[in-house]
């Protein structure tokens, strides 16, 4: 793999981009990080992801892989000699894919309502968000990670959201520690990993970013 060219098109607060940063770090893959300005998307992004025009995009030797969970699986398969991210057992793999998909289907939209809306819609978002986290806590159980003893695919799919928690708590007026203590304990455990600590932005920086977004959407 010595002559691999790996580029990541990303946007620093994206919890989806964070998935790829973590996966690449776990695999110790050298790559070029390119920050996109989503208000002014680069020709490279538009060329590499013409269908959705979204980040993150992994570009491996000139070929794009889009959709973050798909790209994490790809990274796992290509750099298979270290740090397996998906379990080897087919049933466990199916469970991992199921939960990563659940996170994509349920968590993002409810979380967005917490910082992006007011009143009834925000309350509904808060309720759904906490419910989601409780379901995920149920799945985690007493395991240190969703993958069991090993940090893996579902942990990677979920941990990026933690960098937005200070923003959720501030704008949603909620305490995740009180509502989902197991989740917070798991998140802090993940944050002790180098790959995670280096890939997640500071929560205060995210808060400032959300503040600007809220003004833009007229929520402030």
């Amino acid at each position: 793999m010595a002559n691999d060219e790996v580029i990541l098109l990303d946007f620093w607060p994206s919890m989806f981009g964070m998935r790829l940063r973590i996966a690449l770090a776990e695999k110790e893959v050298k790559y070029e990080y390119k920050e996109e300005d989503l208000r002014n998307k680069s020709p490279l992004l538009l060329q590499m992801n013409p269908i959705h025009k979204k980040i993150p995009v992994l570009i491996h030797n000139g070929k794009p892989v889009c959709e973050s969970n798909i790209a994490v699986e790809y990274i796992d398969e290509v750099w298979k000699d270290k740090a397996p991210l998906l379990p080897s057992d087919p049933y466990d793999r199916a469970q991992a894919r199921f939960w990563a998909d659940y996170i994509d289907k349920k968590l993002y939209d409810s979380a967005r309502k917490i910082w992006g809306t007011k009143g009834e819609e925000q309350e509904a978002g808060k309720k759904d968000f906490i419910e989601c986290l409780n379901v995920l806590e149920g799945e985690l159980g007493d395991k240190p990670y969703f993958g069991g003893d090993n940090f893996g695919f579902v942990d990677i799919a979920l941990i990026g959201f933690y960098s937005w928690f200070y923003a959720y708590e501030t704008y949603g007026n909620l305490s995740t520690e009180a509502e989902c203590p197991k989740f917070v304990a798991w998140a802090k455990r993940c944050m002790q990993r180098d790959s995670v600590a280096k890939s997640l932005p500071d929560q205060h920086k995210v808060l400032e970013f959300i503040k600007v977004l809220r003004k833009k959407y007229g929520v402030e």
Binding site: V65, E73, Y74, V78, R93, A94, R97
Partner: protein, 229 residues
């Protein structure tokens, strides 16, 4: 070679269930088909899929696997000696997963939106978006099939199953609304692929005839109206 009981919770009319049926048939696995009804979900379904409470659910040795795309990959992983469902190359696999996600999250929801839209104008507006998607799928097919008959090459694979399973309902909707969703002049390669897919030995007894689907759609709506009065 995986052993143990194989059960499939579903209904014959669900394209998502059809996907699992096709995949199992490819691997020469005959499941016990447990018929669910949409109106009265069984204890087994609620226990096996507490998160979504939906079919299909595959029960392998009584252990549930949910979400059709997850199930397809599971079947491929669990029965590796049969013909492959997903491509073997990681990049081709990522491309197949990308298009499956596009079909399920963007394209098919538009088809459902088309069905639900009321009036010719509203339907025409949605149809325009679907047509854009159709062109993308046509381009993708030409790129992916590398000159062969199916997305999967010489025989059907993951993307053939994902898109092909939806064709029964797409044609049923075309019949009910008397409007063309799949325009063979604009998607000639996929039109040919459609015929090949539907007549494939593994597929042909599984995807229901559009007429039958249109009929149960009508019956279901009559039933809904009756119970809501």
């Amino acid at each position: 070679m995986a052993t143990g009981s194989v059960k499939l919770l579903g209904v014959w009319a669900s394209p998502f269930v059809n996907r699992v049926e096709i995949a199992l048939k490819m691997k020469s696995v005959e499941p016990e088909f447990i018929l669910e009804t949409t109106l009265n979900k069984s204890e087994l379904l609620l226990k096996s899929n507490p998160v979504y409470k939906k079919i299909p659910v595959l029960l392998h040795d009584e252990k549930p696997i949910c979400e059709s795309l997850v199930i397809l990959q599971y079947i491929d992983d669990s029965w590796p000696s049969g013909p492959s469902i997903l491509p073997s190359d990681p990049y081709d696999r990522a491309i197949a997963q990308f298009w499956a996600s596009y079909i399920d999250e963007k394209w098919y929801p538009l088809v459902v939106e088309f069905m639900k839209a009321e009036g010719k104008e509203a339907k025409a507006a949605v149809l325009e978006k679907i047509s854009e998607g159709n062109l993308l799928l046509e381009e993708a097919f030409i790129k992916i099939n590398k000159g062969k008959s199916f997305f999967g090459g010489d025989r059907i694979g993951y993307l053939d199953i994902v898109l092909g399973s939806l064709l029964g309902w797409v044609k049923a909707i075309e019949m009910m609304d008397e409007m063309k969703i799949l325009d063979e002049t604009k998607m000639p390669s996929l039109a040919e692929w459609d015929k090949r897919f539907c007549s494939d030995n593994v597929v042909k007894d599984i995807i229901p005839q559009p007429e039958k689907l249109a009929e149960i759609h009508r019956k279901f709506h009559q039933m809904k109206k009756a119970t809501s009065n």
